[in-house]
C-alpha cells in the first residue's frame, strides 16, 4: 500500500516493526503513555542517528575531507576558512567573546541576507506587481486585488496594540483581528485534513501492508 517495503525478509521485518510501533503510538490514544513515551525516544534516537550518518556520509566526507585530501587542500581556501569557523564555534567557551562571535555572526548574517533578499525579490515585489490593477485585467481581478489589499491593511492595523487611536481606527483594528482569527481558523482546517489523512494512511498500512486485507 504505502509501497515503502518490498517482499524480502528484511522488508517483512521492517513491516512488522513499523506495524508494532504504529499500534503502540495509537495505544497512546487509549492512555498507554509509557510505551508511547518509549516510541518518542525511539524516534528521537533514530532521527539523531540518521542526521549524524547524513552529516558524515553526505557532507563531511564528500564535501570537506575528500576535497582537502585530493590535492593536499591547496587551492581550497574556502574549505579551510569554513573549518576554522567550525573550530571557533566549537571552542567558543574558551575563546574571547569577540572571536567566538565571528562564526555565529557570519551564519546569522548570511541566513538573514539570503532570506530577506529572497523575500523582497522573490515575493514582495512580484506579488505587489501582480496585485496592481492593470489595463485589460478583469473586474474580478481588480476587486479581489482591492479586497486583498484592504484585508492586509486591516490585519496590519490589528497589530496596533497600546497605541492611542480614535474610534474608527479601533474598529478597523478589531476587524483586522477577527480577520486574522478567521484566517488562522481556515489554516487549522487545512491542518486537520492533513492529520486525518495521516491517520488514515496509518490505518491503511495496518490493514493493507500488515494484515493484508483491503480494497
Amino acid at each position: 500500500m504505502n509501497g515503502f517495503f518490498g517482499t524480502e525478509t528484511a522488508d517483512l521485518v521492517a513491516t512488522w516493526v513499523a506495524a508494532v510501533v504504529t499500534i503502540v503510538v495509537l495505544g497512546g490514544l487509549l492512555g498507554e503513555r509509557r510505551l508511547f513515551g518509549w516510541t518518542q525516544h525511539l524516534l528521537a534516537g533514530l532521527a539523531t542517528g540518521f542526521v549524524a550518518l547524513l552529516a558524515i556520509h553526505e557532507v563531511i566526507l564528500p564535501r570537506l575531507v575528500s576535497p582537502l585530501l585530493a590535492d593536499g587542500g591547496i587551492g581550497r581556501a574556502e574549505l579551510w576558512i569554513g573549518l576554522a569557523l567550525v573550530a571557533a564555534t566549537a571552542g567558543a567557551p574558551w575563546l574571547p567573546r569577540l572571536a567566538a562571535a565571528v562564526p555565529v555572526s557570519i551564519a546569522i548574517g548570511a541566513l538573514a541576507a539570503f532570506a530577506l533578499g529572497g523575500a523582497v525579490i522573490g515575493t514582495l515585489i512580484p506579488q505587489l506587481l501582480a496585485s496592481v490593477a492593470v489595463d485589460g485585467g478583469s473586474p474580478v481581478d481588480t476587486v479581489s486585488g482591492v479586497a486583498a489589499a484592504g484585508i492586509t491593511g486591516l490585519v496590519l492595523l490589528g497589530f496596533l496594540h497600546g497605541v492611542p487611536r480614535g474610534r474608527p481606527l479601533q474598529a478597523a483594528a478589531s476587524a483586522g483581528r477577527w480577520l486574522l482569527v478567521a484566517g488562522i481558523g481556515g489554516w487549522l482546517g487545512y491542518l486537520l485534513l492533513s492529520r486525518l489523512l495521516l491517520l488514515l494512511d496509518r490505518i491503511g498500512f495496518l490493514l493493507g501492508d500488515w494484515i493484508g486485507i483491503g480494497r
Binding site: M1, G6, A130, Y190, L193, S194, L196, I203, G214
Partner: protein, 282 residues
C-alpha cells in the same frame, strides 16, 4: 466528570479509529468522490507538463514533511511516473534530512518498480538551506560517484541542462523558498509544485502571479490529476490502496461534530449564565 462520561471520553479515540478502519475497507462505489469536480488545477498541471519539451530534464527538489507526506504521496508517485512516461530525466536533490530520508525510500521504490535507472540522478543531500538553493541556481553539485549521461550533462551544463523544476514541498524549504531563491536567478524556467493543503494559503498567490507554473495543493486536486494521468507501461508505479473518499468524509464529519459539540457546550453555558444573571438582577 461522571464515571460514564470519563469512560466514553477514554474510548472515543478507539471508536474513531475503528470507524475509520471500517470506512477504509468500504469498496469505492463512486457515490462519494475524492477527485475535485473543478478540474482547473489538474488541467493546469497537465498543461504545464505538456508545455515541456520532449524528453525534458527536471530538477526535483524533494523536501516533503513526514507528517504531511501521506497526503501528497500518491500524487507525487503518479507525477514521477508521468514524467518518466514522457521520457523525462529526473535529477533529485534534498535540502532537509527529512526530505532526504523520504527521497531514499522513494528512489528505492522506483528501483523496485524497475524504473529506468539511467533517467534518474540522485544529487544527494545539500546542506545550507537558502544558501544551498542559491548554489543550485548557479550549478547543481553532482556527486563524484554519480555516473551516466544525465550526471555528465548536469555536471557540464549546470542549471542550463534543466528544463523545469518540480518541488515536492511540506518542509521549511518548500516551493516558496524555491520561488524566492531560485526563480529570480534562473529566469523563466517553470517551477511546478506538489504540496500539502497546509501550504495552500502561502502558495496560491504564487500561482496567481505566475511564479509557480502549476500547483497540486489539495487532496482533491491531486486525486483529479491521478484520475486523468495516463502512465502507460509505468502504471505499476501508481500507489495501490489510496484512502477512500468515504473514510475522509467520515473523519471530517466527526471533526465537525467534535468542534460543533465544543462550541454548542460553550454557547449553552453562556446562555445559562445570562439567564441566571437576569433572574438574579434586582
Amino acid at each position: 466528570m461522571t464515571d460514564r462520561r470519563a469512560l466514553v471520553a477514554r474510548l472515543a479515540p478507539a471508536v474513531l479509529v475503528l470507524l475509520l478502519a471500517a470506512a477504509w475497507l468500504l469498496p469505492e462505489t463512486g457515490a462519494v468522490r475524492l477527485a475535485s469536480a473543478d478540474p482547473s488545477a489538474a488541467d493546469g498541471w497537465a498543461d504545464a507538463l505538456d508545455a515541456l519539451p520532449d524528453a525534458p530534464t527536471l530538477l526535483v527538489g524533494f523536501d516533503p514533511d513526514i507528517g504531511t507526506y501521506p497526503e501528497v504521496r500518491a500524487t507525487v508517485r503518479v507525477a514521477l511516473a508521468d514524467l518518466l512516461n514522457r521520457d523525462g530525466r529526473l535529477a533529485f536533490v534534498s535540502l532537509t534530512p527529512e526530505g532526504r530520508a523520504l527521497l531514499v525510500s522513494e528512489l528505492a521504490r522506483l528501483g523496485r518498480g524497475e524504473a529506468n535507472a539511467a533517467r534518474l540522478l540522485d544529487l544527494g543531500y545539500l546542506p545550507g538551506a537558502e544558501a544551498a538553493l542559491v548554489s543550485i541556481a548557479r550549478r547543481p553539485s553532482v556527486p563524484s560517484e554519480a555516473d551516466g549521461e544525465l550526471a555528465r550533462r548536469v555536471a557540464s551544463e549546470g542549471i542550463d541542462a534543466v528544463d523545469a523544476i518540480l518541488v515536492v514541498g511540506g518542509n521549511d524549504l518548500g516551493p516558496r523558498s524555491w520561488v524566492e531563491q531560485v526563480r529570480p536567478r534562473v529566469g523563466e524556467m517553470p517551477i511546478l509544485a506538489i504540496a500539502p493543503t497546509v501550504l495552500l494559503p502561502e502558495l496560491l498567490p504564487y500561482v496567481g502571479s505566475g511564479q509557480l507554473a502549476a500547483l497540486l495543493g489539495t487532496p482533491r486536486d491531486g486525486a483529479a490529476y491521478r484520475e486523468a494521468a495516463e502512465l502507460g507501461p509505468l502504471e505499476r508505479l501508481r500507489e495501490a490502496g489510496e484512502p477512500g473518499a468515504a473514510a475522509v468524509l467520515i473523519g471530517l464529519l466527526v471533526a465537525v461534530l467534535v468542534v460543533g459539540q465544543a462550541w454548542g457546550r460553550r454557547l449553552l453555558t453562556q446562555l445559562r449564565e445570562t439567564s441566571r444573571d437576569g433572574r438574579d438582577a434586582p
